[in-house]
């Protein structure tokens, strides 16, 4: 059973200007002390997330909606374990997969096959697991013999398809997505959407951060509206949210 539980999670970002990025200035500050330190140590702090609380369990399809800067991406990073909350309690039970930047870690001078190995390893897959899915990826991405050529020789569609096929082959309990993914031409898009939906269906909990309200209402059974790093009052006040048993996927029950 996967579960994501957050209680009053807050994230504060220190914003250092060049002065606070300097060790020399820091040393001068500590040595001179007193009056000088008072006005220089007050660096700006951005409250990226403020008192986020929720409890999502298996079956939850959570859409995070909000403007730029409302904290969606920061929240995803907190859930993925990249950012440790400054305050509050976060419990994540289950294996997490992030689908944010699908080509991150890939090297376009290496072959597709080598990049599957690299990216797969970064995603936490074992060599054996990578070997098991490689053929499936090559077939789905329709790469043929190109798989052993450097990725710089690929068309943008080809590298997109490879990255997409790889991102949708693991088996995570919790999936974090930044915007809905679509890849390639119209022909491939329906094929990709089908694969993505099957992949998401396997996961127990899915978080999708998006600007697209209609898409989120279509795909998610929970909608979290965020402004200025807060979850909007109505939902933030629910102390414990129990997910529906049947997740709504693609509008069908």
């Amino acid at each position: 059973m996967a579960r994501v539980f957050a209680k009053l999670v807050s994230v504060d970002f220190p914003v250092y200007d060049s002065k606070h990025r300097s060790l020399k200035n820091a040393l001068v500050r500590t040595m001179t002390g007193g009056s000088l330190s008072q006005d220089t140590s007050n660096h700006v702090i951005v409250q990226a997330l403020r008192e986020i609380s929720f409890d999502f369990q298996s079956g939850a399809r959570v859409g995070l909606i909000g403007h730029n800067g409302s904290g969606k991406t920061t929240l995803l990073r907190v859930l993925s374990g990249v950012y440790i909350p400054t305050r509050g309690e976060l419990k994540v039970e289950g294996k997490i997969a992030t689908m944010i930047n699908l080509t991150l870690g890939m090297d376009f001078d290496l072959s597709g096959r080598e990049n599957i190995l690299i990216r797969g390893s970064i995603m936490g897959m074992s060599r054996q697991a990578i070997r098991n899915v490689t053929e499936d990826i090559i077939e789905f991405a329709d790469l043929g013999d190109f798989i052993d050529l450097p990725m710089r020789t690929y068309s943008s569609g080809m590298s997109m398809r490879l990255a997409f096929a790889l991102a949708t082959c693991g088996n995570a309990d919790i999936i974090l997505m930044d915007e809905w993914m679509s890849a390639g031409d119209a022909d491939f898009q329906s094929k990709a959407e089908k694969r993505l939906l099957t992949h998401l269906k396997k996961a127990e909990i899915v978080f999708i951060a998006s600007h697209n309200t209609s898409l989120v209402t279509q795909q998610c059974n929970w909608i979290v509206r965020m402004t200025h790093g807060r979850i909007d009052k109505i939902e933030a006040n629910i102390p414990r949210i129990v997910a529906k048993q049947e997740p709504v996927v693609n509008g069908k029950k």
Binding site: F13, P14, Y16, S18, R21, S22, L23, K24, A26, R77, S80, G81, V82, Y83, I84, I96, T98, I100, N101, L104, G105, D107, D109, L110, L117, I118, S121, I122, M123, G124, M125, S126
Partner: protein
């Protein structure tokens, strides 16, 4: 997952020498040129016969490039992996290991130069040669702990990297790499306060027939233990904040 750092180190080396036929052996050639250029000149300046000097210089330069490479690369290892660190919950140590492993791969390539010089001007190698792997392990260990401290400092204070570059340049001249410890005469004991000398000498000594004092081993162990303590304290206190500083 276990070998991800090795994989990433290999990718990084491939990246740097992309589309070049001999790849990282470019570094070997650079090293060979350096030694071939400096060797005869300094043998002349110091009035030492080249056959007594070139192998000493080569080993010194190769080990120095390992040590300075580790210091430079580890201090940059969090900054240069910003994107990965911000998207995946990968252990920070992985990036330190990658930087160190990369430099050991380069070191292996440079050993070719050592071997060639050895064939031209053979020296007698004794049983003490067996301690070289242990000395290299100590460099690795110190690299992990000092590298973690440096990497963390460099993320928070962006001017540290410049300082490290300058310090390394000075240390190169203050460490007996081009010159010999015996040239200091009775002031040679001063070298014991140079940590780079301690690590360098533990590798070079057995190869060039100089004895490695047991005090050197104790010093290395002391440095490793102390920096490990500092590094684990810093990682414990600031490790979680590091990604916010990127």
């Amino acid at each position: 997952m276990i070998h991800l750092w090795a994989l990433l180190a290999w990718v990084e080396i491939r990246q740097r020498y992309r589309r070049s036929k001999i790849g990282p052996f470019w570094l070997t050639i650079t090293m060979a040129c350096t030694v071939a250029g400096i060797g005869p000149l300094y043998a002349l300046l110091f009035g030492i016969r080249i056959e007594n000097y070139l192998f000493y210089l080569t080993v010194g330069m190769v080990v120095w490039s390992l040590i300075s490479g580790i210091v430079t690369d580890t201090s940059n290892s969090f900054i240069s992996s910003e994107a990965l660190l911000k998207e995946f919950d990968l252990p920070a140590a992985l990036f330190i290991f990658r930087s160190i492993y990369r430099n050991f791969i380069i070191f292996m390539h440079n050993l070719v130069v050592v071997a060639v010089v050895y064939l031209i001007y053979p020296v007698s190698l004794g049983i003490s040669l067996l301690t070289v792997p242990l000395a290299l392990f100590m460099i690795f260990w110190a690299g992990v702990s000092i590298g973690s401290i440096m990497a963390l400092l460099c993320v928070r204070f962006r001017d540290v990297q410049l300082v490290i570059g300058n310090v390394l340049q000075i240390v190169f001249f203050m460490t007996p790499i081009m010159w010999k410890p015996s040239m200091l005469g009775e002031k040679a004991w001063l070298l014991n306060f140079n940590p780079v000398y301690v690590f360098l000498q533990s590798v070079r000594g057995p190869l060039t027939g100089e004895s490695v004092d047991s005090s050197l081993w104790l010093a290395m162990l002391g440095i490793c233990l102390f920096t490990t303590l500092v590094a684990s304290w810093m990682m414990g206190v600031y490790g979680n904040r590091m990604r916010y500083w990127l």
